[in-house]
């Protein structure tokens, strides 16, 4: 095994496993907290008791999910210190500040108001309780924001300067980091996708009630609210996804090229609607990259630049230094061979800085610092032996992107149909095929949501920090076998957690089907 998977691969695998498991819980908390808030608001406005009962039931499922998800994200921080110690040090306070804010927000806002949500029904006024419910929902989103700020910085590092004395990046503009356009877009895209996931969950569980012919009115009312949330969520997710594509075309063009399996770009570039990645394709040969390709004409140009005739660079173009400028125009930038050379120069300047520091030669330290500054943006390229190492895994990125986009299209249709049936043919909702599709969509939405993250994270390989630190430089000097041990321990613990959550959740849902939720 040691020969097959290096420490880097096992550490990446472990991080991916942990992040994927963490992301099973987070979007459901985001989506359910919103739906509960809406139901409770309707109760306060209309005074109808059934909305309160509905809010209470979905709040119970929110609580189960929240409790099972607590601290799963902490494991990622453990992994930073052990598996990724060079990275942890190198990012400096850029990562520390958002994560610290997240910790404080999560602890104080969420834990305080969650207690009021669950324990305060008969203790505080209805208005105060509603405020607590919404503040919990906002707290969940704020927590997500700071984590996404940290993630966005890795994708698009801004607002910092590298200090060779401290050997870490120092934040020079908190606003640039916190309000990075990548972070803002990522936040909305991610949170809105959480609305969609929460909505599918509510529709799916409601379908279970209908299948069991239990709490029919309760289920149909829940489906109406959830379907509106889901429809709004998916439309806005698609809209922010479009914004994300424009951004990626500018700040991570290699990711976009990998998402499309595009090696040589052109003007009026089509978007692959269907195709299979050619496993024999090499970057520089003439073989087709995609087999059985069906494309939407000019689709990628529209997606990347909102201009059907615009040029979209492929992997080879990007390696040769062709990119899209801020205004969507085609520009020549530094080619990857030169980036590698300049990265090596930056690393040499760092060595010279170190030698000067040890010799106490301040002038030489200043000169080395200036040389390092000049090429620092290519620092990470110096670790690459060839330009091919800067290309992400095309097949995985390509397929993950398609799962996300096609799944998103399915979910849009799903909510439209559910809303149509809810208002025009409510009896049809009880049809077993409709309920079957509702239930089936629960795992589908999780797969789609995780596929979005796979696209974002695999598409930025080989970087932990775009252009500055590849994974092979970020990893600690630990043995692959030690990471393997903890990897499998995580598999066991996470599997146990999942069994616990699913069993408690299903038991509560099953219990609910045996009673009248509008009365009991």
């Amino acid at each position: 095994m040691e020969d097959l998977f290096s420490t880097v691969d096992w550490s990446r695998g472990q991080f991916a496993l942990t992040a994927i498991v963490h992301w099973l819980f987070v979007p459901l908390s985001i989506g359910l907290s919103l739906i509960v808030g809406i139901m409770e608001s309707i109760w306060l406005k209309t005074g109808k008791e059934r909305w309160k009962r509905m809010a209470k039931f979905w709040m119970l499922l929110f609580g189960i999910n929240f409790a099972c998800g607590v601290a799963t994200g902490l494991i990622l921080e453990f992994e930073f210190g052990t598996n990724w110690s060079n990275y942890s040090w190198f990012v400096g306070d850029i990562f520390g500040a958002p994560l610290a804010i997240e910790g404080i927000v999560a602890f104080f806002l969420e834990s305080t108001f969650i207690a009021v949500m669950f324990f305060g029904w008969n203790r505080v006024s209805p208005r105060f309780h509603l405020a607590a419910t919404w503040l919990t929902a906002i707290g969940v989103c704020l927590s997500a924001y700071w984590i996404l700020v940290a993630n966005a910085w890795m994708q698009y590092p801004v607002g910092m300067e590298f200090d060779p004395a401290q050997m870490r990046n120092v934040m020079v503009s908190f606003a640039d980091v916190a309000l990075s356009p990548v972070a803002v877009n990522k936040f909305f895209h991610t949170v809105l996708s959480g609305w969609v996931l929460g909505a599918v969950f509510v529709v799916g569980v409601s379908c279970w009630f209908l299948l069991k012919k239990s709490n029919v009115d309760f289920a149909k009312d829940s489906m109406k609210i959830a379907s509106w949330v889901g429809l709004a969520g998916i439309v806005l997710t698609i809209w922010t996804g479009d914004g994300s594509a424009v951004q990626v075309a500018r700040v991570q063009p290699m990711k976009l090229a990998a998402m499309e399996g595009l090696y040589d770009g052109c003007c009026g570039q089509g978007l692959v609607a269907f195709g299979i990645i050619n496993p024999d394709k090499e970057r520089t040969d003439d073989k087709p990259a995609i087999l059985g390709e069906i494309s939407i004409p000019k689709g990628l140009s529209v997606l990347a630049n909102h201009d059907a005739g615009s040029f979209v660079p492929g992997i080879n173009d990007i390696i040769n230094g062709v990119a899209i400028g801020a205004d969507g125009d085609t520009v020549n930038t530094v080619g990857y061979a030169e980036r590698i050379a300049r990265g090596k120069q930056a690393q040499q300047a760092l060595r010279e800085y170190d030698a000067a520091r040890q010799a106490g030669d301040v002038a030489a330290m200043d000169a080395a610092t200036e040389a390092l500054k000049a090429d620092f943006r290519y620092f990470g390229y110096g670790y690459l032996d060839s330009v091919d190492e800067a290309v992400p895994p095309v097949a995985l990125t390509f397929y993950a992107f398609r799962v996300m986009v096609m799944g998103g299209g399915y979910l849009l249709l799903f909510f439209i149909v559910m809303l149509f049936l809810s208002y025009r043919k409510p009896k049809t909702l009880e049809n077993k095929w409709v309920t079957f599709f509702g239930l089936l969509t629960i795992p589908v939405v999780w797969i789609v949501s995780e596929a979005g993250w796979v696209t974002a994270e695999m598409g930025r390989q080989p970087w932990t920090i775009e252009g500055l630190l590849p994974t092979r430089a970020a990893v600690s000097a630990i043995s692959a076998s030690s990471v393997q041990v903890t990897f499998w321990m995580f598999v066991v613990v996470f599997a146990g957690l999942m069994v616990a959550e699913v069993s408690i959740m299903t038991r509560e849902i099953a219990k609910a089907t045996r009673k009248d939720l509008m009365k009991d």
């Binding site: 420490t7 601290a71 210190g81 060079n86 942890s88 690393q347 760092l350 060595r351 600690s476």
Partner: protein, 82 residues
């Protein structure tokens, strides 16, 4: 504690809330077992903060990372230990 004060009411809300929990008790067991596994097993025995443990101060940690990032990057990563 006087239940008429704000603090008293807040404390009693928590105390009565925990006492009256049904599903919540199982959830708390899960949370506590999870936290115990994370901090008493994983953190203590399997996930040391390498730089924190191996070096006494930030200057030494910076030196270690500088050495690591400027020398010997290979397939197995960078040597951070002396």
């Amino acid at each position: 504690m006087n239940r008429n004060t704000f603090l008293g009411r807040a404390v009693s809300m928590y105390v009565d809330g925990f006492r009256g929990m049904t599903v919540g008790k199982r959830l708390w067991v899960i949370i506590l077992v999870k936290l115990a596994i994370l901090f008493l097993v994983f953190r203590l025995f399997f996930f040391p903060d390498l730089l924190q443990e191996n070096y006494d101060n930030d200057a030494d940690r910076a030196d270690a990372v500088r050495r690591a990032l400027t020398h010997g990057v290979g397939e197995k990563g960078i040597k951070t230990n002396n």
